[in-house]
């Protein structure tokens, strides 16, 4: 990787260029990364680095392997020369247009720039037109909503923009920003292949525009597409790959990338949040919580990604922390889908499902394609025993993203609740297909097979076996396997699984009825097979639990 100093310089000029072109979110992202680069303590006073140091100690607690210092072998980074601004002096018209743009008066901005030929002005004009079209589209979407929910509003500027940009692309007069704009126009028009090409060209010639990378990421729907992209080796590519891997559910690969990036950008909030996201998908809630606590300490008004934190708090049933978080985001910006979602989560945890639904609905009103809100709302409806509504909500989530295994699982559960196990199996199968390493899904499927209606025990056993093989955290599978084998009269298998279950319970220092059950079975089993010594061991252990039962057993021996 290039040196920290060069990264810093690149980012600094990039931020300037991006904000000159009113690409604010990209500029914001770049600035975050800039501050995320570890400062050289020699140059700065302790006040500047104080909290950085304090926070890094927390982070290091969780760093398992220190790979940050090892560069990836065999990768040589190209250094893209920082682009020089072609218009050194800002024209007056540009200044006026930019100020209009900043006041969100896009059409006025575009109008002012109508005769300007500088590349920056041209881009700004096009971009302003694009945004004006988008704004009008959003409005029309609500105005034109037909009786059956039709929403065929489109951005009316797309056609003219596309014409202009494609001509200048062919003439070679378009700059990387223009290419980015051309890319999103193409994507909106559904011409994804060309959009790929154009966006790749854009990021290869100007890698610091994170917006372009994100658009490219959203086009990479499979690993094959990702691998086929012809990208220069810039350090921004690592950011891109990390987030693309995450999107493709390759969480471990993504984590490795992020941890590698942390070598340079050790204080980047963005990277931390992304690591938290990956850990969340890997169900490492403890780590996620620590990361988010740190994030909030550094950046207390952050709303991005906080819905995930609220999910973690929900799962850990931290009432007060969740309410605190909800209060905080509510005060910061109540009309963000994430905020609504957090409040919804809070009410759900409190058991007030009707209120929770209200907030999830609000989140969905703000963003119709907000996947997790649909799923969470489905969960709420399930709690409220309104299964048709739950099914509808889950189905919408699935239609937005057919790879959302939670929603498939939710659908399965809803149908199972309605005593339709056979119908539910279809959905469980889908969810298991997407997430084959999740023991909960396998257990749900097994329970479906086990129901009185189906009573397909062999299939249930197969599912439990899969669940046991993929690290069943709640330790249901082993016990169930033993029970089922016992019920089917296969005592050897049953003994095998009881023993395994026993070992596991010992390892995890858990006790309870399962322990007693396992011991009793094993004792009887051993006695029946004449292995009295073993039986005696089990009976003696039984003594610890229930006096009379074990006593009779011991006596019988």
């Amino acid at each position: 990787m290039s040196s920290k100093e060069s990264c810093r310089n690149e980012l600094r000029s990039a931020i300037r260029q991006l904000s000159n072109r009113c690409l604010y979110s990209a500029a914001q992202w770049a600035a975050e990364q800039l501050v995320g680069i570890e400062q050289d303590p020699a140059k700065y006073t302790p006040t500047n680095t104080r909290f950085q140091r304090g926070s890094s100690s927390i982070r290091r607690r969780f760093r398992t392997n220190d790979i940050t210092s090892t560069p990836v072998a065999g990768v040589s980074y190209v250094s893209t020369p920082v682009m020089e601004e072609d218009e050194v002096e800002d024209s007056d018209f540009y200044l006026l247009a930019k100020s209009y743009f900043d006041c969100r008066e896009y059409r006025r901005a575009a109008h002012v720039l109508r005769d300007q030929t500088g590349r920056r002005s041209v881009f700004l004009r096009c971009y302003a037109l694009y945004l004006a079209g988008e704004k009008r589209k959003e409005e029309e979407m609500i105005e034109l909503e037909g009786p059956l929910g039709k929403s065929n509003a489109v951005n009316r500027e797309l056609i003219s923009l596309e014409r202009e940009l494609s001509t200048s692309w062919k003439n070679g007069t378009v700059d990387p920003f223009g290419l980015y704009l051309y890319g999103i126009v193409l994507k909106d028009k559904g011409n994804e292949n060309l959009a790929h090409t154009v966006l790749v060209e854009s990021v290869n010639s100007y890698p610091w525009n994170w917006n372009a990378w994100s658009e490219l990421k959203s086009l990479c729907t499979s690993i094959d597409i990702l691998n086929s992209l012809n990208l220069n080796n810039h350090w921004m590519k690592d950011y891109f790959l990390a987030s693309a891997y995450q999107e493709l559910r390759m969480h471990n690969e993504s984590l490795t990338k992020y941890e590698y990036l942390q070598g340079t950008f050790s204080f980047s909030n963005y990277i931390q949040a992304q690591i938290a996201k990956a850990q969340y998908s890997l169900r490492e809630f403890e780590q996620v919580e620590v990361i988010f606590e740190e994030l909030l300490r550094n950046d207390p008004y952050r709303v991005d990604d906080m819905d995930m934190y609220s999910n973690v708090l929900y799962a850990k049933e931290c009432f007060s922390a969740l309410s605190y978080l909800a209060h905080r985001v509510f005060m910061t910006d109540k009309y963000r889908p994430e905020s609504c979602c957090i409040i919804g989560n809070y009410y759900s945890l409190k058991g007030q499902h009707e209120k929770s639904v209200v907030y999830f609905r609000r989140a969905l009103k703000l963003d119709k394609n907000y996947l997790s809100a649909w799923t969470l709302m489905g969960h709420e409806y399930v709690e409220m025993k309104n299964t048709p509504a739950a099914i509808d909500a889950y189905r919408r989530a699935v239609d937005i993203n057919p790879r959302d295994y939670r929603a498939w699982y939710g659908l399965g559960q809803a149908y199972e609740m309605m005593h339709m196990p056979l119908y539910a199996l279809h959905y469980f199968r889908k969810s298991v297909f997407l997430q084959p390493n999740d023991s909960r899904l396998w257990i749900a499927m097994a329970q479906c097979y086990e129901t009185e209606q189906l009573h397909m025990l062999e299939e249930a056993i197969k599912c439990y076996r899969r669940a046991a093989n993929c690290n069943d955290s709640e330790a249901i599978a082993l016990n169930q396997l033993a029970k089922l084998h016992h019920a089917l009269g296969r005592d050897e298998e049953a003994a095998f699984y009881y023993k395994k279950d026993l070992e596991r319970m010992e390892a995890e220092e858990r006790e309870g009825p399962n322990m007693v059950e396992a011991l009793i079975f094993l004792a009887t089993h051993c006695r029946a097979h004449g292995r009295f010594e073993e039986a005696e061991v089990y009976c003696t252990r039984l003594l610890d639990y229930t006096g009379p039962v074990s006593f009779t057993y011991l006596k019988n021996l």
């Binding site: 009786p147 929910g149 039709k150 929403s151 489109v154 309104n386 119908y423």
Partner: protein, 924 residues
Amino acid sequence: MAGILKPPGAFAVTPHKVSVCILIQMYAPPAMMSVPFPFSSVAQHNRFGLYLFALTKSCDDIMEPKLDELINQLREIGDVLYQWLTDQLISRLSSLSSPDDLFNLFSDLRAILGGADLSAVDDEQVVLDPNSNLGMFVRRCLLAFNLLCFEGVCHLLTSIGIYCKEALSSCSAYELPCLDDSSNELEALSEYENMDLENIVFEKVNKEIEARKKASEEVSFHLHAPKALFGLVEDIKVSAVSKSQGGDKCREASPSAHAPNDAMREFDSISGAFLRTNWQMQGYLMEQADAIEKHGSSFSLNAFELILRQLQKLAPELHRVHFLRYLNSLYHDDYFAALENLHRYFDYSAGTEGFDFAQPSIGCNSFGRYEIALLCLGMMHFHFGHPKQALDVLTEAVCLSQQHSNDTCLAYTLAAISNLLSEIGISTTTGILGSSYSPITSIGTTLSVQQQLFVLLKESFRRAESLKLKRLVAANHLAMAKFDLTHVQRPLLSFGPKTAMRLRTCPTNVCKELRLASHLISDFVSESSTMTTDGAFSTSWLKNLQKPMGSLVLTQENVSGKDSNAFQFCAQPSSIPGSVLQLVGSSYLLRATAWEAYGSAPLTRVNTLIYATCFSDGSSLSDVALAHMKLIQHLAVFKGYKEAFSALKIAEEKFLSVSKSRILLLKLQLLHERSLHRGHLKLAQKVCDELGVMASSVTGVDMDLKTEASLRHARTLLAANQFSEAAAVAHSLFCMCYKFNLQVENASVLLLLAEIHKKSGNAVLGIPYALASLSFCQLLNLDLLKASATLTLAELWLSFGPNHAKMASNLIQQALPLILGHGGLELRARAFIAEAKCLLSDPSFSVSQNPEAVLDPLRQASEELQVLEYHELAAEAFYLIAIVSDKLGRLAEREEAAALFKEHVLALENENRQDEVDPLPSTP
């Protein structure tokens, strides 16, 4: 239901509706006398009114017509008026330039509606009744307009502008967007490429089908399957070619290249495309659903899918679309798409949208109606030939309907289960219906499949009757008839006092059930017409606009010299729903089948003919194909192969597109019969193999086909004199039939076994089989089969020698009336020959005294066998004639018979030699 989108409202004002409103205003201008200004007669005025009515009702498309389409239709309803009406319409539409104009238009519109108190109005004045169809339409428009917010009014104004502009510059307007595209052809290329290609490929495929149709006239019958494969390959080539062509066209990007695809681009353009009303769309979808069901796989998959996709994009909350997509993929055998769409439909609609038998009055409780989902899923598995899964799912449906006390669904589910049990061979239901909760097992688990089926049928019938589900009652009658046809009823309980049961099937029961099923039609005649027929009427009327009508009501002024088709407008589609017609039709088809089994050829033919002539419009193509198949089979048996094959050619053209076609099966059957008769065994074997392929379980198990295939296999082996192999095949077939309770087939398999032993010269072994077959026939009332078994028995006795000739002769005399009345050519010939043989071997009979008693049947037999080209038996008949003539000293006759004998023997040898030389002979 759970969606956060607003609940579907019914109606939105669109430019098209505005123009209809304007037209209505012209139809009934306020304060005008009985026939308002431009109309010259009452008839003309009425015709215009009818046109407006049709405009608001028809459901032929999902999109509202554009202005130029509307103008074209106006032109068709009247030459004189056309100019005035269009001018008025266009001028009024284009005068709308500000929101205020719209407000004024709608407030004027209010004036044409009569008040609630119609009696106060002058008789002569034209007033729109607010409760009439048109009145309601106007009122709904008014209401919808009043509900519009200012933005909505602005949008309406803009879209009216676009609507007018498109029509006025109809030619140039279409060129504009094309020119746009030409400047960025890359986009055009990729965006429209797929659609263009699909379209072109369709056309190509259609042409292909036609071409193939023509080609098939010269193609030999036998090679059908490989030809089809070859045709498939050609298809692929063709589409590849057209791909490059399409690409070229796009690259040229000339406006004309896009011309045929205007329909496609219309969908994409944002302006000017408005959906029709919810009611009209539902009607359209229902019509399409009927069409899919009727035409099966000949319905174009992709074209309709494209429309559905558009519809889904424009109306995401119209969940019915998913169901149509399910149907579409179901009938095109796309399992995964069907499954996916079915689940999606029920997830969204909870089974409460669009099922007419789910009466809303019983209430959409908060649970939804997911039992219907299970019912549909079960039927889907059934359709794809997964009986086990289907049964599992249907059992769950039974359980759920009981829980939600949805008796209607329960009745349908039980009917579906019994249908499944009767159609698909399941040897045993233990382990399938064995779980504790099902209603079936409460009777006891020892019931056989047949008994379970019987109980289910009764149960479903009882429920259907008490719920007054007329169609289901009729369907149950039919199922019951089917059951009675092939099953002997036994007492359900194996203990307790046994009533004396006649162990026979009951033809009277069958007859009774069939009659009851047909009563359905009279039930429906009195009912008011349903929504679809109403809409369909409007649609068909709109489609036939150009035909002027001088009908009874509207004669006076008959428009110029065209043929007046008086009943075009009066010929409403009948008020009987298609499903009823279908049911009644299938009762006739079942009648034909029943008579076929009982052995009355004329009645079979009559019933099939009734079906083919009266019910073929309303029923699905595959049923019509079945009827044709029966008729052609009849021809083959009674008139010989020549006529059958020429009829087959016609049928083939008609049903070319039906997949899983019975026509192919029929062709194979006919070919097999003929090659067996001609002694062309290699070909017979080949046909047999193809039948075996058809019966393989790739497309689901069809027990009938399976038994048919192995029966024919055994017969081929028998014809090749491989007796032990034939017997082995027949044996295993018998075991299978026994396992799956196929009693009727059992009878014919037993008869075949008897034949095998007869031909192998083992008459002693054959007799028990023949007797067993006889008793089966008696049990099931299979009269014709019984006659043929009797004949075989007689032949067996005859082969024991002259001592048993008397016995054999008696048997033949017994069977002869039925054989002469109903038997086919082969059976009759066999009977004649056997009769002659009996006489000849009877020591008390002397030929010279009564020569005609022998010669006459023999001559008859020889004639019939010549028609059939049954060389072997024909040779035998001529041989006998020659011998007898020789005895009688009739030399000329002897020579003639001997020559014919030689001819047939040579033909037979020739066929056999051909087998050796040419493995793939071309058949005429």
